[in-house]
Amino acid sequence: MSYVATIGEREVTISVEELGGANYKVAIDGAEHVVDAHQVAGQLWSILYRGASFVVDVTQLPTEEYEVLIQGDCHKFTLMNEQRRAMIRAGGKGSAGKAMLTSPMPGKVVKLLVKVGQEVEAGQGVIVVEAMKMENELKSALAGKVKEIFVGEGEVVESGAKLLLVE
């Protein structure tokens, strides 16, 4: 089976073939290796790869994003098999010229600094969200007009919640 990982701008192709006994033949962009991969528990793997031992924690986020922890470093990428990727490629992309501001964390909206229809500059503070006693002023990604505000002051929002649309 072949998979494509996307790390930032880069794409890497990984193929996996089972050899039995928890051994797998993998190829990264064509270079082949045998991996001894034991699932210790849940998302925890013990990996013997190219003469070295690794402890790897793989967390799958609700989308096809992965966060992989090795020796304190957190690697982030999306990964999917080739069929699924082809399917998604056939679909559309996000619209340009718009910037949806979403909450980067769960928290509480403390203050709206702009109103619908107001002109804002790129980098201008537009909303203050408090989490864990720290106030965070979130800024507009681009210059434009506030098209819509999805939350009110005092509202508790989840991570990723839509806050405000600038066009």
């Binding site: 967390t59 304190g72 864990m132 006693k133």
Partner: protein
């Protein structure tokens, strides 16, 4: 000695105090907010009482509820931990009125030292050098602009009732003054229920060195040497150590003496800390006195062998200090890394969520003071500190090596933590050489570390691919009719549960 103590706090510090009580054979009472029913401190205490909804202003900060819980349970004393009511003189007054012993200094000492402006006056009159700045709180925009011009930018805005970096803002440009004042006041209000803010000249490239003190009701004082807390992010300590690489024996003695004089001036009782800024010429300036147990107290415990929390409790019960100044020896070196539920890759954004797996470091010279457990849902309402990892070594080199080893063992999944950040600090050449100041992280470290490549990317990709491969195969097997569904899945929390919506 007290038979029963109520701990008016939560998280790692409540657990720390509970442990001391258990070791002393004292019965314990926890108080908890509605979201903390399953929290470690609630489970760990002998008795536990709910004191209201999640927001601290409706639970941990409500004096009436704490007092009521203490009376209902017959607790003879209250340990406030740090934060919340720990430095609130109204709470101290109330405890005295209710004849419940508050483990800490008197309301008078809290008022004098707690209001940083009064504290500055008090120690200045005892001949201690202080940082230039106002002694009165600032309220209007006009006022802040005037004072800033007077003492010159950059300036630091600080909550009068503050601590722990809450309600603090550094201002370098006049244009930032008004928005910073608003933010500082708002944060101060939220954290301390008091939005008073004062202003101080900002000393460039200072190091933050503090002296740990203990005092009893009989006029005895000792200091437990210094801690260096210069590794700060946004003016909040993140790494602390003892001893400090810049403190000489003479300087230690001088700072200790001054700190004890400051404590004596307010008949200080219990554990407290005098914070100093040290400039590049090793001049030190009194910054403030914290009239409570500090987050970073474990590094002092590890190098001196003194259990500071137990001393607090003994002193509160009227006992004399169990140690004299001559008994205090710094042995080896200790470093603490504060583990926060924050994403170091996204500008330390708070990152509440569920701890889906947890593996804690062990072995020699490692101490973990934690408030989390596997399955713990980190609430959004409180400080994002989830653990403090402390390493001891016979010298600084061994302490750093051990901390690196322990951090690499420390695995928390489900939420982002500052562990990867700490690993990078421990590997940073400036940190290793002891060459840093309080701006080091924000100014030097991030610039140097920005371009760093992650190691072992290939292994990360391969492992994720194999995981997806085995899952796809399991699903394929499960869909084949007439076949067994395969071995029982060992997966737990395989997707990250969302944060519960709060009404």
């Amino acid at each position: 000695m007290f038979r029963k103590i109520l701990i008016a706090n939560r998280g790692e510090i409540a657990v720390r105090v509970l442990r001391a009580c258990k070791e002393m054979g004292i019965r314990t009472v926890a108080v908890f907010s509605e979201v903390d029913r399953k929290a470690l401190h609630t489970r760990y205490a002998d008795e536990a009482y709910c004191i209201g909804p999640a927001p601290a202003r409706e639970s941990y900060l409500v004096i009436d509820k704490i007092i009521d819980a203490a009376k209902r349970t017959g607790a003879e004393a209250i340990h406030p931990g740090y934060g919340f009511l720990a430095e609130n003189p109204l709470f101290a007054d109330r405890c005295e009125k209710e004849k419940i012993k508050l483990i800490g200094p008197s309301a008078y000492a809290m008022r004098t030292m707690g209001s940083k402006t009064v504290a500055r006056k008090t120690v200045q009159s005892a001949g201690v050098p202080v940082v230039p700045g106002t002694v009165e709180p600032i309220t209007t925009e006009a006022e802040i602009v005037r004072v800033a011009k007077e003492i010159g930018l950059p300036v630091m805005l600080k909550a009068t009732a503050g601590g722990g970096g809450k309600g603090m803002r550094l201002v370098r440009e006049e244009s930032e003054l008004s928005s910073s004042l608003r933010m500082a006041k708002s944060e101060a209000k939220s954290a301390f229920s008091d939005d008073s803010v004062y202003i101080e000249k900002y000393i460039e490239n200072p190091r933050h060195v503090e002296i740990q003190l203990l005092g009893d009701q009989h006029g005895n004082y000792v200091h437990l040497c210094e801690r260096e807390c210069s590794i700060q992010r946004r003016h909040q300590k993140v790494v602390e150590e003892s001893p400090s690489v810049i403190v000489t024996p003479e300087m230690r003695a001088a700072m200790g003496k001054v700190a004890i004089e400051a404590a004596r001036a307010v008949k200080y009782e219990g554990a407290g800390t005098c914070e100093f800024l040290v400039d590049s010429k090793r001049n030190f300036y009194f910054l403030e006195m914290n009239t409570r147990l500090q987050v970073e107290h474990p590094v002092t415990e590890m190098v001196t062998g003194v259990d500071i929390v137990k001393e607090q409790i003994r002193v509160a019960a009227g006992e004399k200090l169990s140690i004299r100044q001559d008994d205090v020896k710094q042995t080896g070196h200790a470093i603490e890394c504060r583990v926060y539920a924050e994403d170091p890759e996204r500008n330390f954004m708070p990152c509440p969520g569920v701890v889906t797996s947890l593996r804690v470091p062990g072995g020699p010279g490692v101490r973990d003071d934690s408030g989390m457990y596997e399955g713990f849902e980190i609430p959004i309402y409180y400080d994002p500190i989830i653990s403090k990892l402390v390493a001891w070594g016979k010298d600084r080199t061994e302490a750093i090596a051990r901390m690196k080893r322990a951090l690499a063992e420390y695995v928390v999944t489900g939420v982002k933590t500052t562990i990867p950040f700490h690993i990078r600090v421990m590997n940073n050449r400036h940190f290793i050489s002891g060459n840093f100041d309080t701006d080091f992280i924000d100014k030097v470290f991030f610039k140097e570390e920005e371009a760093r490549e992650l190691a072992n990317e290939e292994v990360a990709l391969v492992t994720a691919a194999i995981q997806v491969f085995t899952e796809e195969r399991k699903r394929a097997v499960a869909q084949q009719p007439g076949e067994a569904a395969g071995p029982v899945s060992m997966w737990k929390y395989s997707t990250r549960p969302g944060i519960r919506k709060i009404g």
